[in-house]
């Protein structure tokens, strides 16, 4: 396994990161882009720590997934506002454009995929769990088609909770993007709203060498990994990241 050694930031491993843009993805989800001078790059699926400091020196740190492959000194995060959260509401609503926070990373050496990882790829996202998987999908698109099949299953409660709607509506030739609604389906759809079911995986890569990545809330990940195993994916081929 290759090294995900966090970059040595100028201050104890922490880099200064300046907010350059913020855009809404869903009612509570935002894309935040930061300029991080000296950022060493990262691999799709990795995350970083964000540290906030109050005037009295109090600090709070949380981890967020990187939503895009390495692009110079720009990092893109996907941040979901946690109800009663201490850090995410500040990042999503209060941090002014041009202001700085501190970040440490890249972090995580297991839930990663790079275009050199050949073979079928199956990405399964619950809600904002799509964020690290989007970094993988975008890296794959940037690398160009290899002939390896790739599928993204994106489970959300309702259409207005779908992240990256525009990009996902425009799959490349070797991608199978399936949007699954669990509570409220868009009008005119042919799949009634229900939780991820075996039928939703029909026709997707099923060979044992398929690389499976599952990210979402704990209950979703437990359910999705059970489904994947029941269609023959070995436990060792399934990598997970859970939250909540």
């Amino acid at each position: 396994m290759s090294a995900p050694t966090p970059g040595r930031g100028p201050s104890g491993g922490w880099w200064r990161a300046r907010l350059t843009s913020r855009e809404g993805q869903t009612t509570t989800g935002r894309t935040l882009r930061f300029d991080v001078p000296g950022w060493p790059g990262h691999r799709p699926g990795q995350h970083l720590d964000v540290r906030l400091t109050a005037d009295d020196g109090y600090q709070a740190v949380r981890s967020y997934s990187l939503a895009a492959p390495a692009a110079g000194e720009t990092v893109e995060l996907g941040v979901q506002t946690a109800p009663d959260g201490e850090v995410s509401p500040y990042l999503n609503e209060i941090l002014p454009l041009g202001a700085e926070v501190e970040v440490k990373g890249p972090l995580g050496g297991w839930f990663v995929w790079t275009p050199e990882d050949r073979g079928p790829l199956l990405l399964v996202a619950g809600g904002c769990g799509v964020v690290p998987l989007m970094a993988m999908l975008r890296a794959r698109r940037a690398a160009g088609a290899t002939g390896d099949p790739c599928a993204l299953l994106c489970s959300v409660r309702a259409p207005d909770e779908l992240w990256y709607a525009k990009e996902l509506a425009d799959p490349t030739g070797t991608e199978d993007v399936r949007l699954l609604y669990t509570r409220q389906a868009p009008p005119g759809g042919d799949r009634p709203a229900h939780r991820l079911a075996p039928d939703d995986l029909e026709g997707l890569p099923a060979s044992p060498e398929t690389r499976c990545y599952v990210c979402g809330p704990t209950g979703f990940v437990e359910h999705a990994t059970a489904l994947l195993q029941s269609r023959g994916h070995p436990p060792g081929s399934i990598r997970t990241e859970r939250f909540g």
């Binding site: 050694t5 491993g13 906030l52 400091t53 109050a54 941090l95 972090l107 399934i238």
Partner: protein
């Protein structure tokens, strides 16, 4: 230089410094973090094996383990993903009891799990009354997502060292980095010294 995170006041407690390791925040919930699918291990097929560096070993079935002296530790736990949870209540067997099952003078131990997960520790950290094999949480059997039927509980280190679905301990003369220890995380993992990642002192 402009101040960092302007307008951030924070509402975490400033008075938990005695109890909260640096960079952690307290949580009431019990988040689940695992690298892969949750294995489901029935207790009638469960066993726990301690292996010495010279090959000697000792195993316990579920019923044999439950017949050993039980302890009820109440401890604070600290996850490297930055949550800490206070006063968690467990029941299980001290690793001192299990480690005594084999002759060993090894300096290290590898905990091995049913799903292939491994984590490494100095032997001194699994003895001396501060590490357990636990099967109950808060008075109930430990659920599979939290590592049931049984996991390690080593609360003085980051919680990835408390291997879920554990099936044994293997004593080793050399330090053998485990799953997360090979994937960027600190070899020892002391939360009070904030030993999260490879570069941390």
């Amino acid at each position: 230089m402009a101040s960092l995170s302007p307008g951030f006041h924070g509402r975490g407690s400033r008075s938990l410094v005695e109890r909260l390791p640096p960079g952690q925040y307290p949580t009431e919930s019990f988040p689940v973090l695992s690298a892969g699918p949750t294995p489901h291990v029935p207790t009638d097929r469960w066993s726990f094996t301690v292996t010495g560096e010279n090959g000697g070993s000792r195993s316990w079935t579920w019923d044999e383990m439950r017949a050993l002296p039980q302890e009820q530790p109440v401890v604070d736990i600290h996850c490297v993903t930055r949550w800490s949870k206070f006063d968690t209540r467990w029941e299980g067997v001290s690793l001192d009891v299990l480690a005594a099952g084999v002759e060993t003078s090894a300096g290290f131990v590898v905990a091995e799990s049913f799903d292939g997960y491994t984590t490494n520790l100095p032997r001194a950290d699994v003895t001396g009354g501060r590490a357990w094999l636990v099967h109950s949480f808060d008075g109930y059997p430990l659920s599979p997502d939290h590592g049931g039927p049984a996991r390690l509980l080593i609360p003085h280190l980051y919680f990835w060292k408390s291997a879920k679905w554990v099936k044994g301990l293997r004593f080793t003369t050399e330090d053998e980095p485990g799953f997360w220890e090979r994937a960027g995380y600190h070899d020892y993992g002391d939360p009070w010294r904030e030993q999260r990642y490879w570069n941390d002192a």
